[in-house]
């Protein structure tokens, strides 16, 4: 073989070998775009974990056809039901969520079936949430397939719900005025509690804000940490860790985080509550049911939200205040609900509490703020 042919053959062979290597052991960026988390994309589901991993990959790629057809129990539900189980039956955080990652943990395995836990970490517009499913995996011939634990859609019977909740409208001085620039006095709001704590990732300032006026207020709180020398260390706002719309006499907890700052550096804290008059309605009313504090270890506050109105709430945000036996605020935590709140269908919530704080907790109080598509138009 002459040099030219040898070179041509070498280039072809090397190229094919490199393609094979790149496909069998893909670089991390290739794995990410292929939807996998482990880099073993070509492994057939010859184990229960591989079957669950493959399913996770298909879900991540939104390859619904492949995901559904790989299920062992697909005869029990339609592909549409499978998709809606993951993305929500009504418009919610799940609808446009992307699967950021997933983990598969085997529990036990026999010759023909196995139990694994699938932890799906979804990324949404307001943050991430974890969807944990106990999955039964069964052997089907020479491979394994997942029995998907579908959560069926719940229905309520047709009915009429009278709406007679309070509502406040604001007449602006001109149609072109920007929101917040109305020539009226701002509602009177007051910080009724404020408590800074030192955490591993920095200072956390928590408290409660009261609307002591007789009109609704759109509120936020800003805190500025001042060093002992008098210089400003940092200034942050409550962002989404507050219920921004407060009806008359309503109270909202708030949390302001200052990452990377130690409380020992702080000499004083300047708190600035802001309020603006806005239109508001007491509807929709969300009832908190079966609220229960579960003591440590693994302390959580669990309960259910029930939408008492007739309209769908697309996103709900639960904010809970935790108090010690002296009634002192010791912690504030929140959770976005990833499923829409359909009228009268309870949806679970679960808020974790840090272990070191959990032991101090005696009572708790929960508020819910809601977002419904088109509600502010």
């Amino acid at each position: 073989m002459n040099k030219g042919r040898l070179l041509a053959v070498a280039i072809v062979v090397a190229t094919l070998a490199l393609l094979a290597i790149g496909t069998i052991w893909p670089v991390p960026s290739a794995v990410a775009y292929a939807g996998g988390g482990k880099g073993d994309l070509l492994v057939s589901p010859s184990t229960p974990e591989a079957a669950a991993n493959d399913l996770g990959t298909q879900i991540r790629l939104h390859a619904w056809d492949k995901a559904y057809s790989s299920l062992a129990n697909k005869a029990e539900f339609t592909q549409s039901q499978f998709i809606h189980d993951l993305t929500g039956y009504a418009l919610s955080l799940r609808t446009y969520a992307t699967l950021d990652g997933f983990e598969v943990q085997p529990l036990h395995q026999s010759a023909n079936d196995a139990e694994v836990i699938m932890k799906l970490r979804w990324s949404t517009v307001v943050g991430t949430f974890e969807d944990k499913r106990d999955v039964h995996v069964v052997r089907s011939g020479d491979h394994w397939a997942v029995n998907w634990p579908i959560v069926p859609e719940q229905h309520v019977p047709p009915q009429v719900i009278p709406v007679n909740y309070l509502r406040w409208d604001v007449i602006k001085s001109g149609s072109g005025d920007d929101w917040g620039a109305q020539d009226v006095e701002a509602p009177h709001v007051r910080i009724v509690d404020m408590h800074p704590v030192n955490r591993a990732d920095g200072v956390v300032v928590m408290g409660e804000l009261l609307n002591e006026d007789v009109i609704p207020a759109y509120v936020s709180v800003r805190a500025t940490l001042v060093a002992k020398s008098g210089s400003v260390l940092d200034s942050e706002g409550s962002f989404d860790m507050i219920s921004h719309t407060l009806l008359p006499k309503q109270v909202t907890p708030f949390v302001i985080r200052f990452p990377g700052i130690d409380l020992s550096e702080v000499g004083s804290i300047r708190m600035v509550p802001q309020s603006v008059l806005v239109s508001a309605s007491a509807d929709p009313v969300i009832e908190v049911q079966n609220q229960q504090y579960n003591a440590p270890p693994g302390a959580t506050l669990t309960g259910q939200l029930s939408n008492q109105s007739g309209q769908t709430v697309n996103v709900a945000h639960v904010l809970s205040s935790f108090y010690d036996k002296n009634g002192q605020l010791v912690w504030v935590a929140g959770q976005y609900i990833d499923r829409a709140l359909q009228p009268q269908i309870p949806v679970d919530f679960r808020i974790s509490v840090p272990e070191d704080i959990a032991r101090k907790i005696n009572t708790e109080r929960t508020v819910v703020s809601t977002y419904a598509v088109g509600s502010f138009q």
């Binding site: 070179l7 393609l19 790149g22 496909t23 670089v27 290739a30 950021d100 991430t128 962002f239 977002y371």
Partner: protein, 568 residues
């Protein structure tokens, strides 16, 4: 003529405006129109320096905009780059193959899918502007190495610096993919017994001349792009890498294989076996073949481990469609030879086949910008610009969500400043660099990193005077609602909503420590553009004709056989 016939109508239709980056280049140019000697631009990232990106093509767009307006000036510069590419490919090919084969290569460059993909889908003006300048410099580089002609050195240096002023990455990687094969060619020819004495420089002479040119060009580029290097040293790029689908495996993710391999290469894929066989068969073509092969493998992104191995961390920063472009340019001389032999053998049938394949390749790559547009929603941002420009709204900064590549278009039209922007290498704000998302306006496409970046920016709205969020994608509404923004207006038949936050202080100048001093602005406005003018002048200096390729350089010429078959 072919380049004009094909690409002029497309430019007159302003087709590149649909691409990913065209508006970004026009935005940079719009700044040079008003502030030629002041690269500090307050419209993005709460203030940034345009010395973070080589300026030459944008400055030409800015200059020509006085005659044609910004859009058509961009088209004119892009068209000039396409025309220059045909010339560059011909001159480069003449080093390797006969004039006739080089002509076919130049003609093929007009139909090259990779070029059309970059022009009409990616909008990479800088890459497509720099590559032809670089290709035109290489014959002078060759002449300098082989004959030691000082005029060739001068021309090579000026053109290479002009190429670097257009796109520094082209020069860095071009040195490996294009210049090394040329050096190898000179050394190979030096061993050729049939060459005359003055065509056979010693290895020492070649090395000395290479080092001389490298030093001269290195110093010149260091001076011409000095503000860029100063900025890079003061503010090294430490931001979290941003995902880019050109780093995917085109086998495991075939949708990206379609986008970054099938569409750009087109019918060239059919010619790959012949390019390898022909390139390997001829000793003189082997360096070129190897250069093509490495660039081709790197251009496959994450399909092979080559890119990651060769580039290291840079693999996570670079995008790889330009490597495929360079690979295609390197293949063109051999392709020209293959086409020539094909036509010699099959005459009219071959000519028709080649023409059809070339036309379909170009058509697909051009049409791809419409089949899979960078921004599916083609909407007018003038209503948003008008809103920002009235009633003192421009006292505050703004950010758009769901605007795609219209972000740059809006920035051109409005007086208001934004904390967002499309130049990833120019941004310094920690909220933008920390998480691994690209422009905030497209946050949702970067999943958690993108949304984390957006949340961080919104959380620090007061710090940046960020009062307005202009939304064309209701996906973001829940975040704005829970984070304390309220809808204040609706525009464009309610397809765009304006959200505001109360209590935000007016925007104040920021990042001023990053602002380049005046002398850097003068340098930036003078030297890169000046070198392009100098390049236009020096290439007219008379020079003895280059003696790169000779007819006896191809051992497998006509009448010879491959695998026992007569090939002509």
């Amino acid at each position: 003529m072919a380049a004009v016939a094909i690409h002029l109508p497309l430019m007159l239709m302003q087709l590149p405006l649909k691409s990913y980056d065209t508006n970004f280049h026009i935005f940079f140019a719009s700044h040079y129109v008003h502030h030629w000697f002041d690269p500090w631009n307050v419209k993005w990232f709460a203030g940034f320096s345009q010395t973070t990106y080589p300026p030459l093509p944008q400055q030409w767009v800015a200059l020509l905009s006085w005659l044609f307006g910004l859009n058509m000036a961009y088209m004119a510069v892009q068209l000039a780059a396409i025309l220059l590419l045909a010339v560059g490919v011909y001159r480069f090919s003449r080093l390797w193959v006969s004039p006739r084969a080089a002509s076919y290569a130049a003609l093929a460059s007009v139909f090259l899918g990779n070029e059309s993909f970059l022009v009409y889908s990616a909008g990479q003006l800088s890459t497509t502007f720099a590559a032809p300048i670089y290709l035109n410099a290489l014959p002078y580089f060759f002449d300098w190495l082989r004959y030691g002609k000082w005029r060739s050195l001068l021309k090579a240096c000026v053109l290479l610096v002009a190429a670097a002023a257009a796109h520094h990455a082209t020069l860095i990687f071009g040195s490996a993919f294009f210049a090394l094969p040329v050096i190898a060619l000179v050394l190979l020819d030096g061993k050729n017994e049939d060459r005359e004495a003055d065509e056979k420089p010693s290895v020492q002479a070649v090395i000395a001349r290479t080092v001389t040119l490298t030093i001269v060009v290195g110093i010149a580029i260091a001076v011409v792009l000095l503000p860029y290097w100063i900025g890079l040293i003061r503010y090294p790029i430490t931001q979290t890498p941003i995902p880019h689908p050109s780093r995917a495996s085109y086998i495991l993710s075939p949708e990206w294989g379609l986008n970054y391999f099938l569409v750009p290469y087109g019918a060239l894929i059919l010619a790959l076996p012949f390019i390898v066989i022909r390139g390997a068969a001829v000793a003189r073509l082997r360096p070129l073949l190897l250069g093509f092969w490495v660039a081709f493998l790197v251009g496959l992104g994450g399909t092979t481990p080559v890119g990651k191995l060769l580039l290291g961390r840079a693999f996570e920063v670079l995008t790889f469609e330009r490597f495929s472009y360079w690979a295609a340019l390197l293949a063109l001389p051999i392709l020209g030879l293959v086409i020539m032999e094909f036509i010699d053998r099959f005459r009219l049938k071959a000519a028709i086949t080649v023409a059809l394949l070339a036309a379909s390749t170009c058509t697909l790559a051009v049409a791809w910008s419409s089949i899979r547009p960078a921004d599916a929603a083609n909407f007018d941002v003038s209503s948003v610009a008008q809103w920002l420009n009235r009633d003192g709204h421009d006292r505050f900064r703004y950010v758009t969500l769901g605007f795609g590549n219209k972000l740059s278009r809006l920035a051109i039209m409005t007086d208001a400043n934004s904390v967002d922007g499309e130049s990833n290498s120019s941004r310094m704000l920690p909220e933008l660099t920390k998480f691994g998302g690209a422009a905030l306006t497209s946050s949702k496409y970067f999943a958690k990193p993108g949304m984390d970046s957006l949340r961080a920016m919104l959380a620090h709205a007061d710090r940046y005077g960020l009062k307005w969020v202009i939304v064309r994608d209701s996906y973001y509404d829940p975040l704005l609602y829970f984070a304390g923004w309220r809808q204040v207006d609706e525009l464009d038949n309610k397809t765009i909503t304006v959200w505001g936050k109360d209590g935000v202080p007016p925007a104040t100048p920021m990042n001023t420590s990053q602002r380049p001093p005046r002398w850097q602005g003068v340098l930036w406005g003078t030297l890169p553009f000046g070198f392009s003018i100098l390049a236009l002048l020096v290439i007219w200096l008379p020079e003895k004709r280059s003696r790169g390729f000779r007819d006896d350089d191809l051992p497998l010429s006509t009448e010879q056989t491959i695998d026992g078959e007569v090939i002509s």
